[in-house]
C-alpha cells in the first residue's frame, strides 16, 4: 500500500496521517499502514484485494459489504479500517475450503438463491452469523436476520430457502451431543 505523490515543493503530502494496524483476515495475520479515514470495505477490497466484498450504497443499507468481525456481521462500508486493529475478519473468500464449499454456498446454488451475484457474499455472511448463533431458524427468523441486506433480483424467497437448506445440512453434519 504505497502512495507516491508529485513533489510540489510544499509539505502537504507529508501531512497525510497514517496508522499501523494488525488484524487477521480469513485466518491469516496481516499488518497494514492506513489513513485513519480509510473504510474497512476499502481496506478489504483495495488493500487486501479481496473483491468478493462489494460496496453498494455507502450508507449501511444494502449490506453488499457485509463481513464478519469477531464473528459478528458488520457492514464494512461504515466501519473504519483502524477499528479492526487486533480483531478477526472473515470475508466470503474464507467460506470455502480448498476442496469443499460451505453449506451456505451450496445452498445458494441448489435453491437458485442468486442471480446477478452482487448481494450474494453479504447475504451469505449475514446468514452465517445467524446460523452460528441459531442453527435451526424458522423462515421468519431467517427473513428478519437478512433484513439488513438488499437483493434486487431474486425476491428473497429462494434466498430464504437457500439458508434453510444450509441450516439443515449443517445440523446433519454437526456431531451429536
Amino acid at each position: 500500500m504505497t502512495t507516491v505523490y508529485s513533489d510540489r515543493g510544499d509539505d502537504a503530502a507529508a501531512q497525510v496521517p497514517m496508522r499501523r494496524i494488525k488484524f487477521t483476515v480469513n485466518g491469516e495475520k496481516k499488518i497494514a499502514e492506513v489513513e485513519p479515514r480509510l473504510l474497512l470495505a476499502h481496506l478489504i477490497r483495495q488493500g487486501l484485494r479481496l473483491t468478493g466484498t462489494h460496496t453498494g450504497c455507502d450508507t449501511t443499507n444494502c449490506g453488499a459489504c457485509t463481513v464478519l468481525v469477531d464473528g459478528q456481521a458488520v457492514k464494512s462500508c461504515t466501519m473504519l479500517a483502524v477499528q479492526v486493529d487486533g480483531r478477526e475478519i472473515q470475508t466470503v473468500e474464507g467460506l470455502a475450503s480448498a476442496s469443499e464449499l460451505h453449506p451456505l454456498q451450496e445452498g445458494f446454488r441448489e435453491e437458485h438463491g442468486l442471480q446477478c451475484g452482487f448481494c450474494t457474499p453479504g447475504m451469505m455472511l449475514a446468514a452465517k452469523a445467524l446460523l452460528d448463533r441459531n442453527p435451526d431458524p424458522t423462515e421468519e427468523e431467517v427473513r428478519w436476520a437478512l433484513s439488513g441486506n438488499l437483493c434486487r433480483c431474486t425476491g428473497y424467497q429462494n434466498i430464504v430457502k437457500s439458508v434453510l437448506w444450509a441450516a439443515a445440512k449443517l445440523r446433519a453434519q454437526a456431531p451429536a451431543d
Binding site: 502537504a12 453498494g56 446454488r109 446477478c116
Partner: protein
C-alpha cells in the same frame, strides 16, 4: 451403437439446470467493473450540481489542482474546447456531458477530478467552487407548459418551449364515433410515478487508452456493449476497430445500465489526456439522482362501454415528464415507446392515443425499468381502467375481463393500435389464477369481514407484453436495426463455445444458451461454454433489456446450432457413406434411415470436421447467425393479490399472491421462476414503498437508500407461481417468449387494484403509487382521491 441422448440428462430444453455462473459468485470470484485494477490506474469522481436549475457564473478549480495526488480537473469549458461538452442521446436529443451554460437538474455533472485514489478525488471535488445563479424550477408537465414557463433547453435554437413532442396513434374519428354510441363511458386519471431501477451495483467504467497502439479499451457496466462502441465512435470520433468495450459481470441492470452516461465519456477523455487507465465508480446518491429514471407519466383515459359489458373503444392521453434531456433508451419509432400496447389482450374494436412529452428540471428519465419501453405504464393503466370500468358497470372483475379477452382462436390478432399479437390462452390463465386464489370463497370472506369493519381486497391484473425488440422494420437504435446474433464454435472433441451479442446481468445466459445448443445438437450443456460482453470477440448484437435476450439472441443461438447441424449432417453422410437424404436425426446422433443401428454421434462429426472431412469441404465446425425476429413475442400473465388494509393506519398487508405466467416454452424452469419472483418483488416495491420524488425546488427526495425504500426479505410477501399454461410462440425457433419483466410490468396493478377493492366502500377512484400508509389513510378518512404528483407537499 449410439442412441438419442436424454435431453433432460444433458441439460437441454426444460431442464432446471443449476447455474454455471454461480460457481464464481458464491465464492466471491465474480469480476465486476469495480473489481478490475489496471497498472497505473487513476480514479475519477464527479462534482454534481446541488441546484435543479441555475446559471453557472463561474467555476474556480484552483484549490482542487493544489491537492497532492490530483492529476486532472475537467470542466465543461475544457470539454467544450474538444467539442465534447454535449453528446447525442439515444432519442435524437443532446445531453450535457459537463455543464457549460447552466445546470438543468439536481445532480447534473459539473466537473470531474482524476486523482491517485478516490478519497483524494472526492476531497478535490469539494475544493471546487462553483458560483450559481438560481433559476425558476419545473418539476411536472403542467408547470412545463404553463404561460411564462422558463425554457429549460435554451441551448437549442429550435426549442421555443418545453414541449418535446406531440404524437398520436390510432383512429381518432372511429373512436369518436364509438364513444358517441356508448351506453356508458368510464373514466380514469392517474400518475405513474418516477421510479429508479436501482441495481445494487452502481454504474462505472475504466477507460484505458493506449497511445502506443491507439486502442481504447473500456470496461463498463453496460447492458449493451456494442451500442456503446458505436456511440463512443461517434462521440469521441475514434475509429470503431480501435474501441473495445468490455462489459464484465454486472451487479444488476434493470434498464439502468443501457444509456450512455457523462461519467463514461469523462473517464474516456481523461484516459486519452493522461494516457493512463481511469476508473470511475459512481456512489449510490450519484446513481439515484442522475442516472436512468423510469416512468413519470400522467395517464388519462376513458372507455366506451355497452351496457352488457362489451368494450367498444378506448381513448387515452399521456403526458410524459422526460427530465432535462430526452434520453429515453428506446428503439421504437414511436415517441412514447410501446405505450400503445395498452389493451392488446382485450378485444377493443377501435382506439386512439395522444401523447405529449415535456422537459423538466429533473434527471433524464425514460429508461425501460424492467419493461419493454413504457409497457409498464400501458399495462398499469389498462388494468386500473378495466377495474374502474367493471365497477362502473356493476360487473364482476373476472367476468368483465373474461368477456372482453381476445379469444384463443383469434390469433394472430391485430390490436386497435396496430400491433399483431401472436398467441395466447388468456381465459385459461385467468381460470387457473382464480382457482388458485379460491376466488368465490375469498369474495364470501371479504363480505363477511366487511360486516365486521375489516377491509379485505382482491386485485386482478393481466398483461401481455410486446417483448423482444425488434423486428428491424420498426425498431432501431441510432439507425442500427434491432437484430441479434450468436456465434457457435464446435471444437474437435465435440466441446463448444457460444458467444452472443446480448449481455446478461443475472438472467443466467451462461446456463441457458448452452441448454438451447444442447437441445439443438445433443451436446451436453456442461460441454458448452458461453461468453458475452466483449466487443472484440462477441458478434455484433444489441444487448440485453426489454426481455429481448431469449426472443432474439436466444433465437440466434438456436439458428446457429441448426447451421452447425446442417454441416454435421454432411459430415455424417460422408462418415456413413450414404447420401444426405438417407440420414435421420435423433438428438445427438445421425443414423441411416434404412439401418438405424448405423449412426454417428455429433461428437464424431466434430472430429471429422477437423480430421476427416470429405474432399472439397471447408474444414472446421463454426458458424454465426444473425436473427431478425419477424414479430415481437407476446407472453401473457394473470396476477391476483389479496390484501387486508388497516383502516386506522392505512397500512396494508398482502395475504396471498398468485402468478400465472404463460411465456411459451421454458428453457430452464428454475431460472424462469426466479425471474418471475424478482419481477413480482419489484412490482410490490413500486406499489408499496419505492418512492423517489421532487420538491418544488427540484430537490430529489429519495436520493439514498435511507429515503428510497427497497423491500427487504422481511416485507416481501411470498408468491405462488403457476406454469400450467404454455402457449408456444409460433414464430420463435424454440417457441419461447420473453419473461424477465412480465411480473414487474403486470404486477403493480394487481396490488393497487387489491387495495382499491378493499376501500371501494369509500367511493375513491384512485390513489397514486406508492400506496404509502398516509395516502391510503387519507383516502379512507377523507373519501377523496390522492395524487402523488410532484412537487411533494410540505407535510410529506
Amino acid at each position: 451403437m449410439s442412441q438419442a441422448v436424454d435431453e433432460i440428462k444433458i441439460g437441454g430444453l426444460g431442464a432446471s439446470r443449476k447455474r454455471v455462473e454461480d460457481s464464481r459468485f458464491i465464492r466471491g470470484k465474480g469480476n465486476y467493473t469495480d473489481d478490475i485494477v489496471l497498472p497505473g490506474m487513476l480514479h475519477m469522481e464527479i462534482l454534481r450540481s446541488p441546484l435543479a436549475h441555475a446559471r453557472i457564473k463561474s467555476i474556480d478549480a484552483s484549490k482542487a489542482w493544489d491537492i497532492p495526488g490530483v492529476h486532472l480537473v475537467l470542466t465543461g469549458e475544457m470539454m467544450a474546447s474538444r467539442n465534447l461538452a454535449w453528446m447525442p442521446t439515444l432519442s435524437y436529443d443532446t445531453q450535457a456531458v459537463l455543464a457549460t451554460d447552466k445546470v438543468r437538474f439536481q445532480g447534473q455533472e459539473v466537473a470531474c477530478v482524476i486523482a491517485d485514489d478516490p478519497y483524494i478525488a472526492k476531497d478535490a471535488c469539494e475544493a471546487i467552487v462553483v458560483d450559481y445563479e438560481p433559476l425558476p424550477v419545473i418539476v411536472n408537465p403542467a408547470q412545463a407548459v404553463a404561460d411564462g414557463a422558463p425554457v429549460i433547453r435554451d441551448d437549442k435554437e429550435t426549442q421555443p418551449d418545453n414541449v418535446i413532442y406531440d404524437w398520436e396513434v390510432g383512429d381518432r374519428d372511429g373512436t369518436d364515433r364509438a364513444f358517441a354510441s356508448a351506453d356508458l363511458v368510464s373514466k380514469l386519471e392517474l400518475h405513474y410515478p418516477r421510479s429508479h431501477p436501482s441495481p445494487i451495483e452502481c454504474c462505472g467504467s475504466i477507460a484505458d487508452f493506449n497511445r502506443a497502439t491507439s486502442k481504447l479499451t473500456v470496461y463498463m457496466t453496460t447492458q449493451a456493449p456494442h451500442i456503446i462502441r458505436a456511440a463512443v465512435a461517434m462521440v469521441a470520433e475514434l475509429p470503431e476497430h480501435m474501441i473495445r468495450i468490455i462489459s464484465p459481470d454486472i451487479g444488476g441492470g434493470f434498464g439502468n445500465k443501457v444509456p450512455v452516461y457523462p461519467g463514461y465519456v469523462c473517464s474516456i477523455l481523461a484516459s486519452i489526456l493522461l494516457e493512463r487507465p481511469v476508473k470511475w465508480i459512481e456512489d449510490k446518491s450519484g446513481n439515484l439522482i442522475s442516472t436512468g429514471f423510469a416512468r413519470d407519466v400522467y395517464l388519462k383515459g376513458e372507455m366506451a362501454l355497452r351496457r352488457d359489458g362489451k368494450i367498444l373503444a378506448v381513448r387515452m392521453h399521456t403526458d410524459a415528464d422526460h427530465g432535462a434531456f430526452f434520453s429515453d433508451a428506446q428503439p421504437s419509432k414511436f415517441k412514447i415507446g410501446l405505450m400503445h400496447s395498452a389493451f392488446a389482450a382485450y378485444d377493443v374494436p377501435v382506439a386512439h392515443l395522444t401523447a405529449r412529452g415535456t422537459y423538466s428540471n429533473k434527471a433524464p428519465g425514460g429508461v425501460a425499468y424492467r419493461c419493454s419501453f413504457r409497457v409498464t405504464e400501458a399495462m398499469f393503466f389498462q388494468e386500473r381502467m378495466v377495474q374502474a370500468a367493471a365497477a362502473d358497470l356493476g360487473m364482476d372483475q373476472a367476468e368483465f375481463r373474461r368477456m372482453n379477452f381476445v379469444p384463443d382462436d383469434a390469433f394472430p390478432h391485430r390490436t386497435p393500435f396496430g400491433f399483431l399479437t401472436d398467441s395466447g390462452q388468456y381465459a385459461k390463465c385467468l381460470e387457473v389464477g382464480l382457482k388458485a386464489i379460491d376466488y368465490e370463497n375469498f369474495r364470501a370472506q371479504q363480505a363477511e369481514a366487511r360486516s365486521r369493519g375489516r377491509l379485505l381486497g382482491l386485485g386482478i391484473s393481466t398483461m401481455t407484453e410486446p417483448l423482444g425488440a425488434g423486428n428491424s422494420r420498426e425498431y432501431d437504435i441510432l439507425g442500427i436495426k434491432m437484430f441479434d446474433s450468436a456465434e457457435l464454435k464446435v471444437h474437435m472433441t465435440g466441446k463448444a463455445i457460444v458467444r452472443t451479442g446480448a449481455r446478461g446481468q443475472g438472467q443466467g445466459h451462461e446456463t441457458t444458451w448452452a441448454q438451447i445448443v444442447a437441445h439443438e445438437l445433443g451436446i451436453p450443456a456442461d460441454d458448452i461454454v458461453v461468453e458475452e460482453g466483449d466487443t472484440d470477440t462477441a458478434p455484433f448484437g444489441m444487448g440485453t433489456y426489454a426481455s429481448r435476450s431469449t426472443p432474439v439472441a436466444g433465437a440466434a443461438v438456436a439458428m446457429v446450432a441448426r447451421k452447425i447441424r446442417a454441416k454435421a449432417r454432411q459430415l455424417a453422410a460422408h462418415l456413413l457413406e450414404v447420401s444426405e437424404e438417407d440420414i435421420e436425426w435423433a438428438l445427438g446422433r445421425f443414423y441411416v434411415r434404412s439401418a438405424p443401428d448405423r449412426g454417428v454421434t455429433i461428437q464424431e462429426c466434430a472430429v471429422a470436421a477437423y480430421a476427416n472431412m470429405p474432399d472439397g469441404m471447408e474444414p472446421g465446425l463454426d458458424a454465426t447467425a444473425y436473427y431478425d425476429p419477424p414479430n415481437l413475442t407476446w407472453p401473457f400473465a394473470v396476477y391476483i393479490v389479496t390484501v387486508e388494509v388497516d383502516p386506522d393506519t392505512g397500512v396494508w398487508d398482502v395475504l396471498n399472491m398468485v402468478a400465472v405466467d404463460d411465456c411459451g416454452v421454458r428453457i430452464n424452469p428454475m431460472i424462469v421462476e426466479g425471474q418471475i419472483m424478482g419481477g413480482l418483488t419489484e412490482a410490490y416495491a413500486m406499489s408499496n414503498m419505492q418512492f423517489i420524488t421532487f420538491d418544488a425546488d427540484g430537490n430529489c427526495v429519495g436520493s439514498n437508500y435511507m429515503d428510497y425504500l427497497l423491500p427487504t426479505a422481511w416485507e416481501t410477501p411470498g408468491f405462488e407461481l403457476h406454469s400450467e399454461v404454455v402457449t408456444p410462440c409460433p414464430h420463435h425457433p424454440i417457441g419461447a417468449k420473453g419473461i424477465g419483466e412480465c411480473a414487474a410490468v403486470g404486477g403493480p396493478a394487481a396490488f393497487v387494484n387489491a387495495v382499491m377493492d378493499a376501500i371501494s366502500g369509500t367511493g375513491v377512484r384512485n390513489v397514486d403509487m406508492p400506496l404509502l400508509p398516509d395516502r391510503v389513510w387519507e383516502a379512507i378518512t377523507y373519501r377523496r382521491d390522492v395524487s402523488g404528483a410532484p412537487p411533494v407537499r410540505s407535510d410529506d
